[in-house]
Structures are given as structure tokens and as C-alpha cells.
């Protein structure tokens, strides 16, 4: 595992500089400085409305930042379209899974494979991603009929199918039971062997053991950054976010 200290430019795979997004009079994020070290898992937590998803949206090109820059692998990717950003190797999942509801699990994954895999290998790749995410029983189920927990797995399968260098996961644990969260944790560990990961989630019990660093957002700005243990001990984080409750 690489440490945060002594990082050079090459060790930071994703960096934001002064990233700011306003919606009319509402400042969603303001001056966010984030550095994600290659090969690590970073957690992003914070109250609802603190700007976590907006941060993902500005990094991945879903919204254009009002100010600031996003650098990936040393290149400025600010303002690129979402599909161009996927081509660079950044992929994300959504709080409310965004699959093609009319298509089956197999068809959704096939769609995601089209960018990176040749027609000859696609079917075996689909099998591989289905096995990875444990969706074997649902190959031919229409996505729109699946409960949200399976849609999350489908989204992860689709994300992996783009051969990403970094995966941004927006609330991978929400809508899952504790038992299902444990399985998803195993899956995330497996993903972390091949890609850098950034996780947003509120289920600290499941998030904290997976991450090496945590960034706490509050009211659109970086409120706290540190190791998981430091976050759990911080009275300020307790006050604005946890309110005395853990997990």
C-alpha cells in the first residue's frame, strides 16, 4: 500500500484544484482540492447536500464546473464530455442505478463491453463480469424488474467492462442489507486490485474498513481529511455528520 506522504505527481492519479460548482445562487461545491493516490481506496463522506455527488458529477463531465480544474493522469480533463472521460479511464456508478431498464442483464453488460472488447471476446467477457458480480441467476432478467441491490451489481459489472483505471462508486451500499453489504465489500476489495477506487457512502461500518483515506465534505467544502481512525475520533466530524451515531 502506498502512503500519502512523499507523493510525487505520478502517484496522484486524480486531482481537483479549486473545483467549484454553482447552480444559480446555490453553491454546491466550492474550492475543492482533492488528490487521489494511485492504487488506493478513498472514502468521501458528509451530510446530505454537502456536495459529494456534485463532486463526482464535475469530475466525470456530467456537469461543467463553474471554476477550477480536474486533472487525470497529469492531463487537464476539465470540461470533457462524459464519454471522453470514460475513454480516459474514469468510470462512475450512480446513487440511483442508471441501467437500460428495458434490456436484460446480459444486454446491459454487452452494451458496456462494446467500447473495449472485440465481438469475438464479448460473450466470454460478459460471463466473466457476471461471475465477478454474482449475477449468474439473472442473465436474462429485464433490468427494470430487478431490485435495487442487483442493479447496483449490474452497474458495477458495466463499470468494470469499460476497463477503468479509476472507479467512482456513489453509495454502493445503499439499498443493501447488512449481509449484502458484506458481499459488496468483498467485491470492492477485488476491484481495488485492478483499479483505484473512490467511494461515497453513509454506511461507515462498511466503508471505513475498505479505505485508506477519508475526505469529509461539509457545505460544499473539504471539512476534514485523514485516515479512517482520525475521522472517527474527530469531534467536529461527529457534530456535523454522525451526531453521536456510528455506522
Amino acid at each position: 500500500m502506498r502512503s500519502l506522504e512523499g507523493k510525487n505527481d505520478n502517484s496522484v492519479i486524480l486531482r481537483t484544484s479549486g473545483l467549484t460548482k454553482q447552480f444559480g445562487g446555490l453553491v454546491a461545491i466550492s474550492g475543492v482540492e482533492l488528490g487521489v493516490v494511485r492504487g488506493t481506496v478513498t472514502g468521501i463522506i458528509g451530510p446530505n447536500g454537502s456536495g459529494k455527488t456534485t463532486l463526482f458529477n464535475t469530475i466525470t463531465g456530467y456537469v461543467r464546473p463553474t471554476k477550477g480544474k480536474v486533472f487525470f493522469d497529469g492531463e487537464d480533463i476539465t470540461g470533457l464530455r462524459p464519454h471522453e472521460i470514460v475513454s480516459r479511464g474514469i468510470v462512475r456508478t450512480f446513487q440511483v442505478p442508471q441501467c437500460c431498464r428495458e434490456l436484460t442483464v446480459r444486454e446491459n453488460i454487452r452494451l458496456a463491453c462494446l467500447r473495449c472488447y472485440h465481438a469475438r471476446t464479448i460473450e466470454s467477457k460478459i460471463d466473466e463480469f457476471v461471475r465477478l458480480t454474482g449475477l449468474e441467476g439473472y442473465y436474462d432478467s429485464r433490468a427494470g424488474n430487478l431490485p435495487i441491490g442487483y442493479l447496483r451489481l449490474l452497474e458495477i459489472a458495466m463499470a468494470v467492462a469499460t476497463q477503468p483505471k479509476i472507479i467512482l462508486l456513489d453509495e454502493p451500499f445503499s439499498g443493501l442489507t447488512d449481509v449484502e453489504c458484506q458481499k459488496t465489500s468483498e467485491l470492492i476489495k477485488e476491484l481495488s486490485n485492478t483499479a483505484t477506487l473512490v467511494l461515497i457512502d453513509h454506511k461507515l461500518k462498511h466503508l471505513m474498513p475498505l479505505v485508506q483515506t477519508v475526505t469529509v465534505l461539509n457545505q460544499g467544502t473539504v471539512f476534514f481529511q485523514g485516515k479512517p481512525a482520525d475521522v472517527s475520533c474527530s469531534p467536529d466530524v461527529q457534530r456535523i455528520y454522525i451526531g453521536g451515531e456510528i455506522g
Binding site: 446530505n48 454537502s50 424488474n145 439499498g175 449484502e180
Partner: protein, 239 residues
Amino acid sequence: MAQGILLKVQDLRAGYGDAAVLLGLSLEAGVGEVLGIVGPNGAGKSTLLRCISGLLRVKDGSILYRGEEIRGVSCQERTRLGITLCLEGGKVLPEMNIEDNLLVGGYLRSKRERYDRISYIYTLFPRLRERRKQIAGTLSGGERQMVSLGRALMSKPTLLMLDEPSFGLAPLAKRAIYEGVRRINQEEDISVLLVEQDAALALEFAERGYAMENGRVAMEGRSYELLKSDLFKKVYLGV
């Protein structure tokens, strides 16, 4: 405990196309009772709520509401009878502001009643009053959940069904939502069917619980009994 039975579901069967989801499910809810419904993804919890609200056609079995069969009753008519469903994922009308979103939920009421109701909902969730003119699409997850719950309450329901009210909520926001639900339950004697993935949270809140598995009820009982049961802890809490 309840003074009478409000809802009685018997041997309910339903699904989507060829996929059968509910395979003979029975449960009942008392007047003013809070029921927790837990279980893994795919157990049929949301499908059950869709059947009771009338969004999904039932294949077999019966749904008795205040002793009357409502299987053939339309969704709109069920709302008139006092049955309201608050869908999963804090669904709002994104182009409309908070207050207009709330007003939509009160279409059965007179203008006067609608505004009285909105005032009440603003006392439950003061944050909505502060932001009443804000466009719902720009709200945070917690605020959307408040709008969605507030909209469900606009019709003054007798039976409120909540599909994962804690979905995507930070600890403090989760508490605000649950405190709101608690207040409504106490002040208006509303029965609540609470579907949650977080079994511990649901059963701390509910008086009784049903644990679902593969379209049927696998365990039922008073919440504290379920939370003490080793089998329940192992299967539903993962401890």
C-alpha cells in the same frame, strides 16, 4: 397496540411477466400500528407495497382494507381510501419547487386543506419551509426524501407505506426523517408499513416485524423478540 385490524393481506401472489415474486404472502396491520418489513433484495418487499397501493396487479390472494376487498379498486381510489405509498429513492418532480411538489400530493383536498396541511408538514420538516421555492431537482438526497415523504402525507393517509425512507441518507438526515414519521404516527394515529434494508433500524422503530424471504414471510413477531432471536440475527443482521 392496535384497536383493530386496518389491513389484512392473505396468500398474496404477484410478479412481473413470467417472474413470480410474491408466492403466497400473508400479513396484517393494526390501526395506528408501525410494522417493519425486512429481508434481502429480491424478497418481494417493494412488490408487496406496489400491490397494496394498486400500482401492480395481483395474480391471486386478497387485500382487505378495513374489512373490504380492494383488489379491484384503482390506485387513485385507494389514495382516496387513505392508502399512500412513498416510493423508494426520494422521487420528486425535479422541475417543480418544493411547495408545488407538496401541493401535487394534496390534489384530493380543498385548497384551504392543502395549505393547512403544508403548514403541518413544514413543522415536521422546517428545512422544507426554508427552501420552499427551491427547484426540487437541485435538492440533496435528504431534502428529496423529506419532500417525497411530505408529499405522501399531503393526502392525510390512514395507511402510510414507506419504501426505504433511509435510502442514501446521512446519519443526521436519517434521524430527521424517522423523527418525522414517529411524530405523524403519534399525532395522527397513522398506520405505517415500513420497508427497510436496514433490519436493525426498522425493528428499533416498529412494534412488530415481518422478515421476508423469496416472496413469503419467513419470520414474524414483536420487534424486540425478533431482535433477540439468534436465527434472525444471523440471517437478517449478519451477526
